[in-house]
């Protein structure tokens, strides 16, 4: 069955440090892949998406993600984290419906 896996439940990072969140997918064809962010008490906001083409995708809030077919991965990165990036991050794929990973909680320390 198709799925996405986010191996890291919780990540703590210092403000100004870089951040990388892992996402692995299990899918036969090239999936449509997404990263969403959910701040406390808020709905999900789309950070970026990958359908095809350039494997490095730029998103909002300074985030980027790289699609690597050989590794079945779609990792999210940010070069310098701000305190406001503390949130929960979800990787998702869309074949005929949107399916989410379990999420990674990011804590930013001063």
């Amino acid at each position: 069955a198709q799925s996405v896996t986010q191996p890291d439940i919780h990540i703590t990072v210092s403000e100004g440090a870089s951040l990388e969140l892992r996402c692995n997918y299990s899918y036969g064809a090239t999936p449509y892949l997404f990263w969403y962010v959910q701040s406390p008490g808020q709905g999900l906001q789309l950070l970026l998406k990958y359908f095809s083409g350039d494997t490095l995708v730029q998103g909002i809030k300074g985030f980027e993600a790289e699609f690597k077919r050989s590794q079945s991965s779609f990792n999210l990165r940010k070069p310098s984290v701000h305190w406001s990036d503390a949130a929960e991050y979800f990787c998702a794929y869309n074949d005929y419906k949107l399916s989410f990973g379990a999420g990674t909680t990011v804590t930013v320390r001063a």
Binding site: Y36, G43, L44, L98, A102, G103
Partner: protein
């Protein structure tokens, strides 16, 4: 552009009671989704509407959950009777015909069943 609206934001009920959630999608968005997000998990699709018709309700527990979108605009999700395991955040999302893959989410309704 106004976003997806949901109410109430919070609800506490006792088990076996009933509860209803309301969602108003972004104007003009024909597709509407209801998700259940249990603490520590990603959202799980409960039901998808296209206008006022159901596209997918395969993961909706139909013995206790029901949803409708009578006029193809706003929607109501009902639980009757509620169980403890229904405690979750219920998210509504909508998409437009021009970009069916970008879902816009509301803030959600946090349900606690005691």
């Amino acid at each position: 552009e106004a976003g997806v609206a949901q109410s109430p934001r919070y609800k506490i009920i006792e088990k076996r009671q009933s509860v209803a959630f309301w969602c108003n999608p972004i104007s003009g968005h024909a597709t509407l989704y209801w998700y259940q997000q249990i603490l520590g998990q990603g959202p799980k699709l409960l039901i998808q509407f296209q206008n006022n018709g159901v596209v997918d309700d395969s993961q909706l527990p139909k013995d206790r959950f029901s949803a409708e979108r009578l006029k193809g605009v706003d929607s109501t999700l009902k639980i009757q009777p509620a169980k403890l395991e229904d405690s979750a955040v219920y998210l509504c999302a909508s998409t437009s015909a021009f970009d069916p893959y970008e879902q816009y989410f509301g803030p959600g309704t946090r349900l606690t069943v005691t």
